[in-house]
Amino acid sequence: MGALGSRTAKVFLFAFAVLLGACNRSADEIKVYRLAKPSGEPAPMEKDAIASTNAPVRSTIERVPSANSNVATPPNWEPQPLSEMRQASFLVHGENGATADISFVRLGPAAGNVLDNVNRWLDQLGQPPVTPNKLSSMVQKVPTPLGEVNIVDLSGKPENGDASKDGRIVAAIASDGTNTSFYKMRGNAGVVGAEKENFIKWVVAMRSSSGEQTVAQSAPLTSDKPQIKWDIPFGWSPAPASAMRYASFSAEGKIDISVVTFPGDGGDDLGNVNRWRQQIGLAPTDESHNNIASLRASDATFSTIDITGANARTIAAWTRKDGRAWFFKITGSSSAVEKEKPNFVKFVQSVRF
C-alpha cells in the first residue's frame, strides 16, 4: 500500500501542479503593446505594400469626428457653434420667435437601439413610452447611399415647455455597426413641420460618401489640435479621415493626399524620408538630405522631397510650427502624381496656420 499510496500521491501532485499552471490566466491583466501608425499609402496599393514592406495595417474603426460637412443646407438654417458632441448644428427661425434646433451627433455602435432612443425623446415631450410593436408602425425607413435610416416624427407637450421652442421632434437614426448617427430636429411644432422635408433631404445628403464621413476644409475639432486653413484644389475630394490623419483627400479616385500632425518635432527628417521610401518599396538611404528642397508658403517654409519607387511616387512637404510638426503628403502612380504636383504645391502654399 505504501508504494501504491506514494504513486497515487505523485499523480495527485502532478495533476495539481498542472492545474495551478492552468490557473495562471491573464484576463485581468493590464496589457501594454505598440501599434504601428496607419501609413499613408493609398488603399488600392495596401495589399501589395503590406506583403512587400511589412507596413502596418490601416485601422478603419477609429475616426476623428468631422467638424463640419460640405453638404448644402437650406439658406434659412443658421449654423450654430459646434461642440465636441455636435458635429453639425443649426437653428431655424419661424414666426413670432418660434425656433427649431437641428443637430447631428455620431456615437458608438452601442448607442443605436431605436426603441430606447425613441422612448427617451417621447419622455422629453412628456409622452409615455411605446412598445416594439407600436414602434414599427411609427418608423419610416428611408433609403440612403449608406443604408436605410429610421425616421420618427414625435409630438407632445413637455411639462413647463415653451411651445415656441418645443413640441415636436423629427429624428433619424442610422447605425452601421461601427457608428450610430443621430439627426434630430426639435422645436416648435409648426417650424419642425415646415422644415421636415428639408430635414429628410439633408439627412439623405449627409448619408452619402461625401457627407458625414468627410473632413471638410476646417480641421477636426479635437481638444488639442489647432485649426489651420487651406484652399482645396479643384478636383480634390475629401476622403474619410482616420484616427491619425488630420485630413485626407483623393484626386482622380487613385491619388491619396494626407495631412498629419504630431506634437513635438515629429522625428528626424532622414528617418521620416526613409519610412516614406520603404512605403513605396525603396531601400533606406543616408543621402536623402541632398534631395530635400525648400518651398516657401505664406505662413511658413516647408521642406519637400519627391521620391519615386517602382510602382508609386510620393511627394512630401513638412514644417514645424508652434511646437507641432505638420506633414503633407501625396502618393499615387508616378504619372498621376506628376499631373497633380502643381495642385499639391499650390495646396501646401495655401496653408495658413
Partner: protein
C-alpha cells in the same frame, strides 16, 4: 495521514460528492441566468473556482460554493488518482484503460478549453481590412499614447480591473487613473436635453455635456451592456511619486464614438472605452460577402465571405472563402462565418482561439476504441464458450 489523503482523493464518495455539487451548481447557475444573463452566469458559476458573495464588491468577498473549475478539477484528479491506484496492467483490460484515458482527455480538454479558449468577433464591411478581433462581452479602457510618429503605445485596462480597483497605476502611464464611477450598463443623454436629474459626471471632453443614467445589467442574448465610467486623470511626479493637480474627469463609454484626447508632459493621449481587442500579426480584408436565399423567400440558403489573408511575417497573401461549416484555420485561430448585418453590408466572423480544440476528437476516438475492444473481447470470449459448449 498520507494514506487517508490518498483514500480521500481516490474514493468513490468524493466522486459522488463532486457530481452532487455539480448538480447543485448547474441548478443555481441556471436560475442565476435570469438576473445575470448567460455570459455573466457562466463566468461566475462555471468558469470560476469559487462562487463569491457578495457579487459586486471592491472590498471583502467570501467563497460560498465551489465553482465549475474546482469541481471539474477535483473530478479529474479523482479519476486520475483512482485509476492510478487501482491500475493493473492486463491485456484483457485494455478496453477499460482506453475508455478511462479517453474520459480523462475529455475532462482535461474541457477544463483547458474553459481556461484558455478565447472567443471574439471580427466585423468587416466590404473592402475593410482589420488586424484585430473584438470581444463584444468584455470591455477595456484603452489609454493610447499617440505622441510617437512611428507607433501608438496602447495601455489596455480590462473592465474587471476598473471594477475592482479604485486607483489604477501602471509603469506605462505617468498618471494615475482614478475610477470615480463605473456603470456596468448605462444610458447616455445630452445634458441640454435632460429634464432635471444629476449633473454631468465629467468636466472634460464630451462627457461634460452628457448625463449618465445607470441601467441594470443586460441579460438577454441580443442585448449589449453599455459600459461607462467616469475617470479622473491625476499626474504623478515621476521623481517623488507624489500626485499632482488633477487634469480633470473624463467620461468614457461604449456609446461614445471617437476617442477623447488630452495632453500631458508634451505627450498626447487618447481615452476610449471599447470592446476588448485581440491584435494579430496578420490582416484580413473582406473582398466580397454573399448571401444567397431560397428563391422567393427570405430564408438563408448560404452566406459566405471571400477574404484576403495577408501575413507579412510568413509571406502569406492568399484568398480564402469562409462559409458555413468551412472555417478558416490559421495560426491557431479558427474563423467561422457567424453572421451578417441585416442589409448585407457587413460580414461577422467568429474568431476562436482554442489550444485544446483537438482534445474532444481524440477523446472520442480513444473512448470508441476502448469500448470496441472491451465489447469485442467479451463477444469473442462468449462465442468461444458457446462453440465449446456445442
Amino acid at each position: 495521514m498520507l494514506r487517508k489523503t490518498v483514500d480521500l482523493i481516490t474514493s468513490l464518495k468524493l466522486t459522488i460528492a463532486c457530481l452532487s455539487a455539480a448538480m447543485a451548481l448547474i441548478f443555481a447557475g441556471t436560475l442565476a441566468q435570469v438576473h445575470l444573463g448567460i455570459h455573466e452566469a457562466q463566468q461566475r458559476y462555471f468558469q470560476s473556482f469559487f462562487v463569491w458573495w457578495p457579487r459586486e464588491s471592491r472590498g471583502f468577498k467570501m467563497p460560498i460554493f465551489p465553482g465549475g473549475h474546482l469541481i471539474g478539477a477535483v473530478l479529474l484528479i479523482n479519476l486520475i488518482a483512482a485509476h492510478a491506484r487501482r491500475f493493473r496492467w492486463a491485456w484483457k483490460k485494455l478496453g477499460i484503460h482506453l475508455t478511462h484515458a479517453g474520459l480523462i482527455i475529455m475532462l482535461a480538454g474541457g477544463l483547458f478549453t474553459d481556461l484558455f479558449a478565447v472567443e471574439s468577433h471580427m466585423r468587416l464591411t466590404n473592402g475593410e481590412t482589420k488586424n484585430y478581433s473584438e470581444d463584444t462581452r468584455l470591455d477595456e479602457l484603452a489609454v493610447i499614447d499617440t505622441s510617437n510618429p512611428e507607433f501608438d503605445q496602447v495601455t489596455a485596462i480590462p473592465e474587471s480591473v476598473l471594477r475592482h480597483k479604485r486607483i489604477i497605476e501602471h509603469p506605462s502611464l505617468p498618471f494615475q487613473i482614478v475610477v470615480k464611477h463605473l456603470f456596468p450598463n448605462a444610458r447616455l443623454q445630452m445634458a441640454d436635453e435632460a429634464v432635471g436629474g444629476a449633473p454631468p459626471l465629467a468636466n472634460r471632453g464630451v462627457g461634460a455635456q452628457v448625463i449618465v443614467q445607470s441601467l441594470p445589467r443586460a441579460t438577454g442574448t441580443d442585448e449589449q451592456n453599455i459600459v461607462t465610467a467616469a475617470i479622473e486623470i491625476v499626474p504623478v511626479d515621476l521623481a517623488t511619486g507624489a500626485t499632482q493637480e488633477s487634469l480633470g474627469t473624463w467620461l468614457v463609454s461604449d456609446a461614445l464614438g471617437a476617442p477623447q484626447t488630452f495632453s500631458w508632459m508634451n505627450r498626447t493621449w487618447q481615452l476610449t472605452m471599447r470592446p476588448a481587442r485581440y491584435y494579430k500579426p496578420y490582416s484580413v480584408t473582406l473582398q466580397k460577402f454573399t448571401h444567397e436565399r431560397y428563391a422567393g423567400t427570405e430564408i438563408p440558403k448560404n452566406f459566405a465571405s471571400q477574404i484576403a489573408l495577408i501575413d507579412p511575417e510568413r509571406s502569406t497573401n492568399r484568398d480564402v472563402l469562409i462559409y458555413m461549416n468551412h472555417p478558416l484555420r490559421y495560426r491557431g485561430e479558427t474563423f467561422y462565418q457567424a453572421g451578417f448585418q441585416k442589409d448585407d453590408s457587413a460580414s461577422i466572423l467568429q474568431v476562436v482561439h482554442n489550444p485544446s480544440f483537438i482534445a474532444p476528437y481524440v477523446a472520442c476516438v480513444i473512448v470508441a476504441a476502448g469500448l470496441l475492444v472491451q465489447f469485442g473481447y467479451h463477444l469473442v470470449g462468449f462465442a468461444r464458450k458457446r462453440t465449446a459448449a456445442t
